[in-house]
Protein backbone atom coordinates (compact mmCIF):
# COMPACT_ATOMS: atom_id res chain seq x y z
CA UNK A 1 0.00 0.00 0.00
CA UNK A 2 1.57 3.30 -1.07
CA UNK A 3 1.88 6.10 1.43
CA UNK A 4 -0.82 8.68 0.62
CA UNK A 5 0.59 11.99 -0.67
CA UNK A 6 -0.93 15.23 -1.94
CA UNK A 7 -4.37 16.72 -1.40
CA UNK A 8 -7.17 14.54 -0.07
CA UNK A 9 -10.38 13.70 -1.90
CA UNK A 10 -13.95 13.16 -0.84
CA UNK A 11 -16.41 10.78 -2.49
CA UNK A 12 -20.07 11.63 -2.93
CA UNK A 13 -22.60 9.10 -4.17
CA UNK A 14 -26.12 9.60 -5.42
CA UNK A 15 -28.15 6.41 -5.64
CA UNK A 16 -31.72 6.10 -6.77
CA UNK A 17 -34.08 3.55 -8.22
CA UNK A 18 -37.34 3.98 -10.07
CA UNK A 19 -39.49 1.22 -8.73
CA UNK A 20 -41.21 -1.01 -11.31
CA UNK A 21 -40.50 1.49 -14.07
CA UNK A 22 -40.84 -1.03 -16.85
CA UNK A 23 -44.56 -1.35 -17.51
CA UNK A 24 -44.25 -4.77 -19.12
CA UNK A 25 -41.85 -6.61 -16.84
CA UNK A 26 -42.24 -4.32 -13.81
CA UNK A 27 -38.53 -4.32 -13.19
CA UNK A 28 -36.86 -1.30 -11.64
CA UNK A 29 -34.04 0.89 -12.92
CA UNK A 30 -30.90 1.66 -10.92
CA UNK A 31 -29.26 5.06 -11.27
CA UNK A 32 -25.92 5.82 -9.65
CA UNK A 33 -23.68 8.82 -9.95
CA UNK A 34 -20.36 9.03 -8.12
CA UNK A 35 -18.40 12.24 -7.63
CA UNK A 36 -14.81 12.50 -6.49
CA UNK A 37 -14.61 16.02 -5.10
CA UNK A 38 -16.59 17.96 -7.72
CA UNK A 39 -15.94 15.63 -10.66
CA UNK A 40 -18.42 13.06 -11.91
CA UNK A 41 -16.23 9.98 -12.34
CA UNK A 42 -18.57 7.00 -12.52
CA UNK A 43 -22.16 6.71 -13.64
CA UNK A 44 -24.55 3.86 -14.15
CA UNK A 45 -28.07 3.54 -15.46
CA UNK A 46 -29.27 -0.01 -15.70
CA UNK A 47 -32.39 -2.09 -15.44
CA UNK A 48 -32.28 -4.28 -12.35
CA UNK A 49 -31.93 -8.01 -12.80
CA UNK A 50 -34.25 -8.98 -9.95
CA UNK A 51 -37.92 -8.22 -9.65
CA UNK A 52 -38.48 -6.16 -6.54
CA UNK A 53 -41.86 -5.97 -4.84
CA UNK A 54 -41.36 -2.68 -3.04
CA UNK A 55 -39.73 0.71 -3.50
CA UNK A 56 -37.70 -0.14 -0.45
CA UNK A 57 -36.35 -3.30 -2.10
CA UNK A 58 -35.38 -1.65 -5.36
CA UNK A 59 -33.72 1.27 -3.58
CA UNK A 60 -31.77 -1.16 -1.47
CA UNK A 61 -30.53 -2.97 -4.55
CA UNK A 62 -29.37 0.38 -5.97
CA UNK A 63 -27.65 1.30 -2.73
CA UNK A 64 -25.86 -2.03 -2.57
CA UNK A 65 -24.56 -1.65 -6.14
CA UNK A 66 -23.43 1.88 -5.27
CA UNK A 67 -21.63 0.62 -2.18
CA UNK A 68 -19.78 -1.95 -4.23
CA UNK A 69 -18.72 0.67 -6.76
CA UNK A 70 -17.51 2.91 -3.95
CA UNK A 71 -15.48 0.08 -2.43
CA UNK A 72 -13.74 -0.49 -5.77
CA UNK A 73 -13.15 3.22 -6.27
CA UNK A 74 -11.71 3.66 -2.78
CA UNK A 75 -9.34 0.79 -3.40
CA UNK A 76 -8.26 2.33 -6.68
CA UNK A 77 -7.66 5.73 -5.08
CA UNK A 78 -5.63 4.13 -2.30
CA UNK A 79 -3.47 2.43 -4.88
CA UNK A 80 -3.01 5.77 -6.64
CA UNK A 81 -1.68 7.07 -3.32
CA UNK A 82 -4.47 9.61 -2.91
CA UNK A 83 -5.51 10.42 0.69
CA UNK A 84 -9.20 9.73 1.36
CA UNK A 85 -11.20 12.19 3.36
CA UNK A 86 -13.42 10.05 5.63
CA UNK A 87 -16.24 7.79 4.50
CA UNK A 88 -18.07 8.41 1.23
CA UNK A 89 -21.33 10.32 1.57
CA UNK A 90 -24.20 8.43 0.01
CA UNK A 91 -27.50 10.12 -0.76
CA UNK A 92 -30.56 7.99 -1.12
CA UNK A 93 -34.09 9.35 -1.41
CA UNK A 94 -35.95 6.61 0.44
CA UNK A 95 -36.42 7.36 4.13
CA UNK A 96 -36.88 3.76 5.21
CA UNK A 97 -33.73 2.62 3.39
CA UNK A 98 -31.77 5.33 5.15
CA UNK A 99 -33.26 4.37 8.50
CA UNK A 100 -32.84 0.68 7.94
CA UNK A 101 -29.23 0.99 6.92
CA UNK A 102 -28.30 3.37 9.71
CA UNK A 103 -30.13 1.63 12.55
CA UNK A 104 -28.98 -1.95 12.97
CA UNK A 105 -32.34 -3.74 12.99
CA UNK A 106 -33.91 -5.57 10.14
CA UNK A 107 -37.03 -7.51 9.30
CA UNK A 108 -36.05 -8.63 5.83
CA UNK A 109 -37.24 -12.03 4.70
CA UNK A 110 -36.06 -12.29 1.11
CA UNK A 111 -32.60 -13.66 0.74
CA UNK A 112 -31.28 -11.14 -1.78
CA UNK A 113 -32.80 -8.22 0.12
CA UNK A 114 -31.18 -9.37 3.29
CA UNK A 115 -27.86 -9.78 1.46
CA UNK A 116 -28.21 -6.20 0.20
CA UNK A 117 -28.96 -5.09 3.72
CA UNK A 118 -25.98 -6.80 5.29
CA UNK A 119 -23.62 -5.59 2.55
CA UNK A 120 -24.60 -1.98 3.08
CA UNK A 121 -24.59 -2.34 6.85
CA UNK A 122 -21.11 -3.84 6.95
CA UNK A 123 -19.74 -1.06 4.74
CA UNK A 124 -21.25 1.56 7.01
CA UNK A 125 -19.76 -0.19 10.04
CA UNK A 126 -16.38 -0.32 8.31
CA UNK A 127 -16.48 3.41 7.65
CA UNK A 128 -16.48 3.10 3.86
CA UNK A 129 -19.68 5.02 3.43
CA UNK A 130 -22.37 6.85 5.31
CA UNK A 131 -25.93 7.15 4.13
CA UNK A 132 -28.20 10.17 4.34
CA UNK A 133 -31.49 11.16 2.78
CA UNK A 134 -31.71 13.49 -0.17
CA UNK A 135 -35.17 14.58 -1.37
CA UNK A 136 -35.83 13.30 -4.86
CA UNK A 137 -36.31 16.90 -6.03
CA UNK A 138 -32.58 17.48 -5.76
CA UNK A 139 -31.28 13.92 -6.09
CA UNK A 140 -29.08 14.13 -9.16
CA UNK A 141 -29.34 10.43 -9.89
CA UNK A 142 -33.00 10.94 -10.83
CA UNK A 143 -31.45 11.86 -14.15
CA UNK A 144 -30.46 8.23 -14.54
CA UNK A 145 -33.69 6.56 -13.50
CA UNK A 146 -36.65 8.48 -14.94
CA UNK A 147 -37.61 10.24 -18.14
CA UNK A 148 -37.96 13.71 -16.70
CA UNK A 149 -39.97 16.73 -17.74
CA UNK A 150 -38.08 19.59 -19.33
CA UNK A 151 -37.43 21.90 -16.41
CA UNK A 152 -36.44 19.19 -13.98
CA UNK A 153 -34.14 17.60 -16.52
CA UNK A 154 -32.32 20.81 -17.24
CA UNK A 155 -32.09 21.66 -13.54
CA UNK A 156 -30.56 18.31 -12.64
CA UNK A 157 -28.32 18.26 -15.72
CA UNK A 158 -26.84 21.55 -14.62
CA UNK A 159 -25.66 19.92 -11.40
CA UNK A 160 -23.54 17.52 -13.39
CA UNK A 161 -22.68 19.24 -16.66
CA UNK A 162 -21.71 22.69 -17.77
Amino acid sequence: MPCPLGESVQITVFADASFAANMVTRKSVTGILIFVNGSPILWLSKRQATLETSTFGSEFVALRVAVEMVEALRYKLRMFGVPLDGPANAFCDNQSVVLNSTLPSSTLKKKHNSVNYHKVRSCIAAGTIRVTKEPSETNTSDLLTKFLVVHKKSRLSKQVMH
Binding site: P2, C3, L5, G6, E7, V9, Q10, T12, N22, M23, V24, T25, V29, G31, L33, F35, V36, N37, G38, S39, P40, I41, L42, W43, S45, K46, R47, L73, Y75, K76, L77, M79, F80, G81, V82, D85, N89, L143, L144, T145, K146, F147, L148, V149, V150, K153, S157, V160, M161, H162
Partner: protein, 445 residues
Protein backbone atom coordinates in the same frame (compact mmCIF):
# COMPACT_ATOMS: atom_id res chain seq x y z
CA UNK B 1 -40.91 -37.36 -54.46
CA UNK B 2 -37.44 -38.83 -54.54
CA UNK B 3 -34.73 -38.76 -57.19
CA UNK B 4 -35.53 -42.32 -58.35
CA UNK B 5 -39.14 -41.42 -59.04
CA UNK B 6 -40.74 -43.00 -56.00
CA UNK B 7 -42.90 -40.92 -53.71
CA UNK B 8 -43.45 -41.28 -49.96
CA UNK B 9 -45.12 -39.23 -47.26
CA UNK B 10 -42.72 -37.67 -44.76
CA UNK B 11 -43.67 -35.91 -41.56
CA UNK B 12 -43.44 -32.14 -41.52
CA UNK B 13 -41.04 -32.28 -38.55
CA UNK B 14 -38.56 -34.29 -40.57
CA UNK B 15 -38.78 -31.93 -43.52
CA UNK B 16 -38.38 -28.95 -41.27
CA UNK B 17 -35.36 -30.51 -39.65
CA UNK B 18 -33.77 -31.13 -43.05
CA UNK B 19 -34.25 -27.82 -44.76
CA UNK B 20 -36.25 -25.28 -42.87
CA UNK B 21 -35.83 -22.40 -45.27
CA UNK B 22 -37.01 -24.36 -48.31
CA UNK B 23 -39.94 -25.74 -46.40
CA UNK B 24 -40.93 -22.24 -45.40
CA UNK B 25 -40.57 -20.95 -48.95
CA UNK B 26 -42.77 -23.77 -50.19
CA UNK B 27 -45.48 -23.05 -47.66
CA UNK B 28 -45.31 -19.36 -48.44
CA UNK B 29 -45.57 -19.96 -52.20
CA UNK B 30 -48.56 -22.27 -51.96
CA UNK B 31 -50.24 -19.87 -49.56
CA UNK B 32 -50.73 -22.06 -46.51
CA UNK B 33 -48.17 -20.27 -44.33
CA UNK B 34 -51.01 -19.02 -42.15
CA UNK B 35 -52.25 -22.51 -41.27
CA UNK B 36 -51.79 -23.35 -37.56
CA UNK B 37 -49.05 -25.89 -38.25
CA UNK B 38 -47.02 -23.29 -40.12
CA UNK B 39 -47.90 -19.85 -38.87
CA UNK B 40 -45.70 -20.02 -35.79
CA UNK B 41 -42.41 -20.72 -37.53
CA UNK B 42 -42.57 -19.85 -41.23
CA UNK B 43 -42.27 -16.10 -40.66
CA UNK B 44 -39.22 -16.50 -38.46
CA UNK B 45 -37.56 -19.03 -40.74
CA UNK B 46 -37.87 -16.67 -43.69
CA UNK B 47 -36.59 -13.74 -41.67
CA UNK B 48 -33.60 -15.72 -40.53
CA UNK B 49 -32.87 -16.88 -44.08
CA UNK B 50 -32.88 -13.29 -45.35
CA UNK B 51 -30.51 -12.25 -42.59
CA UNK B 52 -28.08 -15.04 -43.32
CA UNK B 53 -28.15 -14.38 -47.06
CA UNK B 54 -27.53 -10.70 -46.52
CA UNK B 55 -24.56 -11.44 -44.31
CA UNK B 56 -22.98 -13.54 -47.04
CA UNK B 57 -23.50 -10.85 -49.68
CA UNK B 58 -22.01 -8.25 -47.36
CA UNK B 59 -18.64 -9.94 -47.48
CA UNK B 60 -17.42 -8.05 -50.51
CA UNK B 61 -14.17 -6.16 -50.67
CA UNK B 62 -14.05 -2.82 -49.00
CA UNK B 63 -14.19 0.46 -50.81
CA UNK B 64 -11.20 1.48 -52.85
CA UNK B 65 -11.91 5.19 -52.54
CA UNK B 66 -11.67 7.30 -49.42
CA UNK B 67 -12.46 11.02 -49.37
CA UNK B 68 -12.49 10.81 -53.19
CA UNK B 69 -8.92 9.59 -53.35
CA UNK B 70 -8.12 6.24 -54.89
CA UNK B 71 -6.51 3.92 -52.35
CA UNK B 72 -4.16 1.26 -53.71
CA UNK B 73 -4.10 -2.32 -52.44
CA UNK B 74 -0.59 -3.32 -53.43
CA UNK B 75 2.74 -1.61 -53.79
CA UNK B 76 2.57 -1.92 -57.57
CA UNK B 77 -0.82 -0.24 -57.62
CA UNK B 78 0.53 2.56 -55.43
CA UNK B 79 3.38 3.35 -57.80
CA UNK B 80 1.03 3.07 -60.79
CA UNK B 81 -1.36 5.56 -59.20
CA UNK B 82 1.49 7.97 -58.58
CA UNK B 83 2.63 7.77 -62.19
CA UNK B 84 -0.93 8.24 -63.39
CA UNK B 85 -1.42 11.32 -61.21
CA UNK B 86 2.08 12.68 -61.77
CA UNK B 87 2.59 12.93 -58.01
CA UNK B 88 4.65 11.09 -55.43
CA UNK B 89 2.29 11.03 -52.45
CA UNK B 90 2.14 7.26 -52.17
CA UNK B 91 5.85 6.83 -52.88
CA UNK B 92 6.63 9.28 -50.10
CA UNK B 93 4.27 7.52 -47.72
CA UNK B 94 5.97 4.21 -48.48
CA UNK B 95 9.45 5.70 -48.05
CA UNK B 96 8.47 7.20 -44.71
CA UNK B 97 7.06 3.96 -43.37
CA UNK B 98 9.96 1.90 -44.68
CA UNK B 99 12.61 4.16 -43.17
CA UNK B 100 10.93 3.66 -39.78
CA UNK B 101 10.35 -0.02 -40.15
CA UNK B 102 13.81 -1.06 -41.40
CA UNK B 103 15.07 -1.71 -37.85
CA UNK B 104 12.68 -4.63 -37.67
CA UNK B 105 14.61 -6.67 -40.24
CA UNK B 106 17.93 -8.43 -40.22
CA UNK B 107 18.82 -9.50 -43.78
CA UNK B 108 20.51 -12.84 -44.38
CA UNK B 109 23.09 -13.40 -47.13
CA UNK B 110 21.79 -14.07 -50.58
CA UNK B 111 20.87 -17.73 -50.92
CA UNK B 112 21.25 -18.45 -47.21
CA UNK B 113 18.37 -20.53 -45.87
CA UNK B 114 16.59 -19.31 -42.76
CA UNK B 115 17.31 -21.08 -39.44
CA UNK B 116 15.31 -24.25 -38.94
CA UNK B 117 12.97 -23.19 -36.18
CA UNK B 118 11.92 -19.99 -37.96
CA UNK B 119 8.59 -19.70 -39.69
CA UNK B 120 7.80 -17.82 -42.87
CA UNK B 121 5.30 -15.01 -42.67
CA UNK B 122 3.95 -12.79 -45.45
CA UNK B 123 4.46 -9.02 -45.39
CA UNK B 124 2.32 -6.42 -47.07
CA UNK B 125 1.70 -2.72 -47.07
CA UNK B 126 -1.67 -1.33 -46.12
CA UNK B 127 -2.61 2.06 -47.54
CA UNK B 128 -4.95 4.62 -46.16
CA UNK B 129 -5.88 8.27 -46.48
CA UNK B 130 -5.92 10.24 -43.23
CA UNK B 131 -8.38 12.92 -42.18
CA UNK B 132 -6.10 15.69 -43.45
CA UNK B 133 -5.79 13.92 -46.84
CA UNK B 134 -2.19 12.89 -46.20
CA UNK B 135 -1.37 9.42 -47.45
CA UNK B 136 -0.29 6.75 -45.04
CA UNK B 137 1.34 3.40 -45.56
CA UNK B 138 1.81 0.78 -42.86
CA UNK B 139 3.80 -2.42 -43.21
CA UNK B 140 2.04 -5.32 -41.53
CA UNK B 141 2.87 -8.97 -41.11
CA UNK B 142 0.28 -11.61 -41.88
CA UNK B 143 -0.20 -12.61 -38.26
CA UNK B 144 -3.39 -14.48 -39.07
CA UNK B 145 -1.26 -17.29 -40.51
CA UNK B 146 0.61 -17.89 -37.28
CA UNK B 147 -0.44 -19.85 -34.24
CA UNK B 148 -1.77 -17.70 -31.44
CA UNK B 149 0.59 -17.58 -28.45
CA UNK B 150 -0.66 -19.05 -25.20
CA UNK B 151 -0.19 -15.93 -23.13
CA UNK B 152 -1.71 -12.47 -23.35
CA UNK B 153 -1.52 -11.13 -26.89
CA UNK B 154 -3.00 -7.68 -26.79
CA UNK B 155 -1.75 -4.46 -25.30
CA UNK B 156 -3.88 -3.63 -22.30
CA UNK B 157 -5.21 -0.14 -21.82
CA UNK B 158 -5.90 2.08 -18.86
CA UNK B 159 -9.54 2.21 -17.75
CA UNK B 160 -11.61 5.25 -18.56
CA UNK B 161 -12.47 6.29 -15.02
CA UNK B 162 -8.77 6.29 -14.12
CA UNK B 163 -8.17 8.84 -16.84
CA UNK B 164 -11.06 11.02 -15.67
CA UNK B 165 -9.58 10.74 -12.15
CA UNK B 166 -6.21 11.79 -13.53
CA UNK B 167 -7.69 15.00 -14.94
CA UNK B 168 -9.10 15.79 -11.52
CA UNK B 169 -5.92 14.89 -9.60
CA UNK B 170 -3.87 17.06 -11.95
CA UNK B 171 -5.67 20.25 -10.95
CA UNK B 172 -6.09 19.14 -7.34
CA UNK B 173 -2.35 18.92 -6.80
CA UNK B 174 -1.45 21.77 -9.14
CA UNK B 175 0.49 19.61 -11.59
CA UNK B 176 1.09 19.88 -15.31
CA UNK B 177 -0.30 17.38 -17.73
CA UNK B 178 1.30 16.38 -21.00
CA UNK B 179 0.11 13.98 -23.63
CA UNK B 180 2.28 12.34 -26.23
CA UNK B 181 2.07 9.46 -28.61
CA UNK B 182 4.96 7.29 -29.51
CA UNK B 183 5.73 6.95 -33.22
CA UNK B 184 5.86 3.41 -34.60
CA UNK B 185 5.53 2.23 -31.03
CA UNK B 186 5.47 -1.51 -31.68
CA UNK B 187 8.80 -1.38 -33.51
CA UNK B 188 10.55 -0.49 -30.26
CA UNK B 189 9.75 -3.89 -28.86
CA UNK B 190 11.71 -7.00 -29.61
CA UNK B 191 9.78 -9.94 -30.88
CA UNK B 192 9.74 -13.18 -28.91
CA UNK B 193 8.60 -15.53 -31.65
CA UNK B 194 10.80 -16.54 -34.57
CA UNK B 195 9.68 -15.42 -38.01
CA UNK B 196 11.30 -14.67 -41.35
CA UNK B 197 9.98 -13.21 -44.60
CA UNK B 198 10.95 -12.89 -48.23
CA UNK B 199 11.41 -9.20 -48.92
CA UNK B 200 9.14 -7.71 -51.57
CA UNK B 201 9.64 -4.64 -53.79
CA UNK B 202 8.78 -2.29 -50.93
CA UNK B 203 11.98 -3.22 -49.11
CA UNK B 204 14.08 -1.56 -51.84
CA UNK B 205 17.59 -2.96 -52.08
CA UNK B 206 16.71 -5.94 -49.88
CA UNK B 207 14.19 -7.20 -52.44
CA UNK B 208 14.37 -10.95 -52.87
CA UNK B 209 16.49 -11.52 -49.77
CA UNK B 210 15.35 -13.50 -46.80
CA UNK B 211 14.95 -11.26 -43.78
CA UNK B 212 14.57 -12.26 -40.15
CA UNK B 213 12.05 -10.22 -38.18
CA UNK B 214 13.58 -8.94 -34.95
CA UNK B 215 11.04 -6.34 -33.85
CA UNK B 216 7.30 -6.51 -33.18
CA UNK B 217 5.80 -5.68 -36.57
CA UNK B 218 2.22 -4.47 -36.72
CA UNK B 219 0.05 -7.47 -37.48
CA UNK B 220 2.02 -10.04 -35.51
CA UNK B 221 -0.23 -11.65 -32.96
CA UNK B 222 1.99 -10.92 -29.99
CA UNK B 223 3.03 -7.42 -31.10
CA UNK B 224 0.65 -5.59 -28.74
CA UNK B 225 1.77 -7.56 -25.72
CA UNK B 226 5.44 -7.24 -26.71
CA UNK B 227 5.17 -3.45 -26.84
CA UNK B 228 3.31 -3.28 -23.55
CA UNK B 229 5.93 -5.41 -21.85
CA UNK B 230 8.75 -3.36 -23.36
CA UNK B 231 7.34 -0.02 -22.21
CA UNK B 232 6.67 -1.46 -18.74
CA UNK B 233 10.33 -2.42 -18.42
CA UNK B 234 11.48 1.04 -19.45
CA UNK B 235 9.12 2.75 -17.02
CA UNK B 236 10.36 0.48 -14.27
CA UNK B 237 13.92 1.59 -15.08
CA UNK B 238 12.76 5.18 -14.57
CA UNK B 239 11.68 4.02 -11.09
CA UNK B 240 7.98 4.13 -11.80
CA UNK B 241 5.88 1.60 -9.92
CA UNK B 242 2.80 -0.04 -11.41
CA UNK B 243 -0.43 0.96 -9.68
CA UNK B 244 -2.11 -2.27 -8.50
CA UNK B 245 -5.75 -2.77 -9.41
CA UNK B 246 -5.24 -0.42 -12.31
CA UNK B 247 -3.42 -1.83 -15.35
CA UNK B 248 -1.24 0.62 -17.25
CA UNK B 249 -1.17 3.26 -14.54
CA UNK B 250 2.28 4.09 -13.17
CA UNK B 251 3.23 6.12 -10.15
CA UNK B 252 6.46 7.63 -8.76
CA UNK B 253 6.90 9.72 -5.62
CA UNK B 254 8.54 13.10 -6.04
CA UNK B 255 9.06 16.30 -4.06
CA UNK B 256 8.07 19.67 -5.49
CA UNK B 257 10.47 22.59 -5.33
CA UNK B 258 8.46 24.01 -2.42
CA UNK B 259 8.94 20.80 -0.46
CA UNK B 260 5.50 19.18 -0.82
CA UNK B 261 5.49 15.51 -1.60
CA UNK B 262 3.25 14.12 -4.33
CA UNK B 263 3.03 11.34 -6.90
CA UNK B 264 3.83 11.64 -10.58
CA UNK B 265 1.70 9.48 -12.84
CA UNK B 266 1.95 8.00 -16.31
CA UNK B 267 -1.12 6.46 -17.94
CA UNK B 268 -0.65 4.30 -21.00
CA UNK B 269 -3.23 3.74 -23.73
CA UNK B 270 -1.34 1.47 -26.15
CA UNK B 271 0.97 4.11 -27.64
CA UNK B 272 -0.59 7.22 -26.09
CA UNK B 273 0.99 8.42 -22.86
CA UNK B 274 -0.62 10.77 -20.36
CA UNK B 275 1.95 12.23 -17.95
CA UNK B 276 1.22 14.11 -14.73
CA UNK B 277 4.08 15.82 -12.96
CA UNK B 278 5.29 19.21 -11.78
CA UNK B 279 7.62 19.12 -14.78
CA UNK B 280 6.38 16.41 -17.16
CA UNK B 281 8.61 17.33 -20.10
CA UNK B 282 11.83 17.38 -18.13
CA UNK B 283 11.09 14.48 -15.82
CA UNK B 284 9.19 12.04 -18.05
CA UNK B 285 9.26 12.90 -21.75
CA UNK B 286 12.98 13.71 -21.85
CA UNK B 287 14.11 10.45 -20.18
CA UNK B 288 11.82 8.49 -22.50
CA UNK B 289 13.27 10.20 -25.57
CA UNK B 290 16.75 9.43 -24.22
CA UNK B 291 15.76 5.77 -24.16
CA UNK B 292 15.14 5.96 -27.90
CA UNK B 293 11.37 6.52 -28.10
CA UNK B 294 10.09 8.88 -30.74
CA UNK B 295 7.67 11.08 -28.76
CA UNK B 296 5.29 12.83 -31.15
CA UNK B 297 2.84 15.67 -30.56
CA UNK B 298 4.05 16.50 -27.06
CA UNK B 299 1.66 19.00 -25.52
CA UNK B 300 -1.34 19.63 -23.31
CA UNK B 301 -4.07 17.07 -23.88
CA UNK B 302 -6.61 18.11 -26.50
CA UNK B 303 -8.33 14.84 -27.36
CA UNK B 304 -8.82 11.54 -25.62
CA UNK B 305 -10.69 8.68 -27.32
CA UNK B 306 -12.64 11.17 -29.42
CA UNK B 307 -13.59 13.49 -26.57
CA UNK B 308 -12.21 17.01 -26.64
CA UNK B 309 -10.23 17.96 -23.58
CA UNK B 310 -9.96 21.64 -22.75
CA UNK B 311 -9.45 23.91 -19.80
CA UNK B 312 -12.68 25.29 -18.42
CA UNK B 313 -12.81 28.36 -16.21
CA UNK B 314 -15.18 28.67 -13.29
CA UNK B 315 -15.53 31.83 -11.30
CA UNK B 316 -15.76 31.04 -7.60
CA UNK B 317 -18.02 32.81 -5.12
CA UNK B 318 -15.17 35.07 -4.06
CA UNK B 319 -14.43 36.11 -7.62
CA UNK B 320 -11.32 34.01 -8.12
CA UNK B 321 -11.12 32.06 -11.35
CA UNK B 322 -10.43 28.33 -11.16
CA UNK B 323 -9.27 26.33 -14.15
CA UNK B 324 -10.40 22.74 -14.52
CA UNK B 325 -10.12 20.16 -17.24
CA UNK B 326 -13.33 19.59 -19.16
CA UNK B 327 -14.40 16.91 -21.58
CA UNK B 328 -16.95 17.32 -24.31
CA UNK B 329 -18.06 15.12 -27.15
CA UNK B 330 -18.86 18.11 -29.35
CA UNK B 331 -16.87 17.19 -32.43
CA UNK B 332 -17.91 13.57 -32.39
CA UNK B 333 -21.50 14.69 -31.88
CA UNK B 334 -21.38 17.16 -34.75
CA UNK B 335 -20.11 14.44 -37.06
CA UNK B 336 -22.72 11.95 -35.85
CA UNK B 337 -25.59 14.44 -36.15
CA UNK B 338 -24.44 15.48 -39.61
CA UNK B 339 -24.42 11.86 -40.74
CA UNK B 340 -27.89 11.23 -39.35
CA UNK B 341 -29.19 14.43 -40.94
CA UNK B 342 -27.82 13.45 -44.31
CA UNK B 343 -29.46 10.05 -44.08
CA UNK B 344 -32.80 11.36 -42.86
CA UNK B 345 -33.10 14.43 -45.06
CA UNK B 346 -36.01 16.80 -44.44
CA UNK B 347 -37.82 14.80 -41.80
CA UNK B 348 -34.95 15.49 -39.41
CA UNK B 349 -34.92 19.22 -39.99
CA UNK B 350 -38.67 19.57 -39.42
CA UNK B 351 -38.50 18.48 -35.81
CA UNK B 352 -36.23 21.24 -34.67
CA UNK B 353 -36.24 22.42 -31.07
CA UNK B 354 -37.36 19.28 -29.28
CA UNK B 355 -37.59 19.81 -25.54
CA UNK B 356 -36.74 16.35 -24.21
CA UNK B 357 -34.70 13.47 -25.66
CA UNK B 358 -37.77 11.24 -25.99
CA UNK B 359 -41.42 12.21 -26.43
CA UNK B 360 -42.98 13.10 -23.10
CA UNK B 361 -44.84 10.19 -21.55
CA UNK B 362 -43.30 7.78 -24.05
CA UNK B 363 -43.08 4.20 -22.82
CA UNK B 364 -40.84 2.30 -25.23
CA UNK B 365 -41.87 -1.06 -23.76
CA UNK B 366 -45.53 -0.37 -24.60
CA UNK B 367 -44.77 0.66 -28.17
CA UNK B 368 -46.89 -1.38 -30.57
CA UNK B 369 -45.93 0.20 -33.87
CA UNK B 370 -44.67 -2.04 -36.70
CA UNK B 371 -41.44 -3.92 -36.38
CA UNK B 372 -38.61 -2.56 -38.50
CA UNK B 373 -37.32 -4.54 -41.45
CA UNK B 374 -33.76 -5.87 -41.42
CA UNK B 375 -32.09 -2.86 -43.01
CA UNK B 376 -33.79 -0.44 -40.70
CA UNK B 377 -33.12 -2.63 -37.67
CA UNK B 378 -29.47 -2.64 -38.53
CA UNK B 379 -29.55 1.13 -38.87
CA UNK B 380 -31.23 1.36 -35.47
CA UNK B 381 -28.50 -0.76 -33.92
CA UNK B 382 -25.81 1.43 -35.43
CA UNK B 383 -27.51 4.54 -34.03
CA UNK B 384 -27.62 2.96 -30.57
CA UNK B 385 -23.93 2.11 -30.90
CA UNK B 386 -23.11 5.75 -31.66
CA UNK B 387 -25.22 6.95 -28.73
CA UNK B 388 -23.63 4.50 -26.32
CA UNK B 389 -20.21 5.84 -27.23
CA UNK B 390 -21.46 9.39 -26.72
CA UNK B 391 -22.56 8.43 -23.20
CA UNK B 392 -19.12 6.93 -22.56
CA UNK B 393 -17.60 10.25 -23.60
CA UNK B 394 -19.40 11.93 -20.76
CA UNK B 395 -22.96 12.73 -21.84
CA UNK B 396 -24.52 11.54 -18.59
CA UNK B 397 -27.71 13.42 -19.42
CA UNK B 398 -28.76 10.88 -22.05
CA UNK B 399 -27.47 7.76 -20.28
CA UNK B 400 -30.93 6.59 -19.23
CA UNK B 401 -32.56 7.25 -22.60
CA UNK B 402 -29.82 5.38 -24.43
CA UNK B 403 -29.76 2.38 -22.12
CA UNK B 404 -33.55 2.14 -22.28
CA UNK B 405 -33.66 2.31 -26.06
CA UNK B 406 -30.83 -0.21 -26.28
CA UNK B 407 -33.09 -2.81 -24.68
CA UNK B 408 -34.94 -3.01 -27.99
CA UNK B 409 -31.83 -3.57 -30.05
CA UNK B 410 -32.81 -7.06 -31.18
CA UNK B 411 -36.32 -6.26 -32.33
CA UNK B 412 -36.84 -2.52 -32.74
CA UNK B 413 -40.10 -0.94 -33.84
CA UNK B 414 -40.86 2.19 -35.83
CA UNK B 415 -41.59 4.15 -32.67
CA UNK B 416 -38.26 3.21 -31.18
CA UNK B 417 -36.42 4.42 -34.26
CA UNK B 418 -38.38 7.68 -34.24
CA UNK B 419 -37.46 8.33 -30.62
CA UNK B 420 -33.83 7.37 -31.12
CA UNK B 421 -33.63 9.92 -33.92
CA UNK B 422 -35.26 12.37 -31.56
CA UNK B 423 -32.36 11.90 -29.13
CA UNK B 424 -30.06 13.10 -31.91
CA UNK B 425 -32.31 16.11 -32.53
CA UNK B 426 -32.25 16.94 -28.84
CA UNK B 427 -28.47 16.59 -28.75
CA UNK B 428 -28.27 19.06 -31.60
CA UNK B 429 -29.75 21.69 -29.31
CA UNK B 430 -27.52 20.67 -26.39
CA UNK B 431 -24.32 20.05 -28.26
CA UNK B 432 -22.07 22.09 -26.02
CA UNK B 433 -22.69 20.38 -22.67
CA UNK B 434 -19.54 19.11 -21.09
CA UNK B 435 -18.25 17.40 -17.99
CA UNK B 436 -15.99 19.52 -15.83
CA UNK B 437 -13.45 17.78 -13.64
CA UNK B 438 -13.94 20.13 -10.73
CA UNK B 439 -11.50 19.38 -7.90
CA UNK B 440 -13.12 21.54 -5.20
CA UNK B 441 -14.80 19.69 -2.39
CA UNK B 442 -18.55 19.91 -2.13
CA UNK B 443 -20.20 21.58 0.77
CA UNK B 444 -22.03 18.85 2.73
CA UNK B 445 -24.89 20.45 4.57
Amino acid sequence: MWKDGTATWETLTAMKEMNMARCAEYAERLGFADEPAFSYWVKFALKKRNRLLKKVFCRKRSNRFKYGIAVPRTVKEAYALDTANGSDFWAKAIDKEMSNVMVAFKPLDLGASPPDDYKEIPLRLIFDVKMDFSRKARLVAGGHLTDPPEALTYSSVVSRDSVWLAFMLDKLNGLDMIMTDIGNAYLNAEVTKKYYAIAGPELGELQGLTVVIVRALYGLKSAGAAWNHHLANELMQLEFEPVPANPDGWRRAHVKSDGTKYYEYVFVYVDDLLCLSADPVGRIIQPLSDLGYRCKDVGKPTRYLGAEIAEHEIRGADGTVHKFWSMSAEQYLKLAIQTVEDQQGDSFGKCRGVKTPVESGYRPELDETDELDDDKAKYYQSLIGILQWIVELGRIDIALEVSTMAQFNCNPRTGHLRNTLRIFMWLKGHIKSKLVMDCCKRDMD
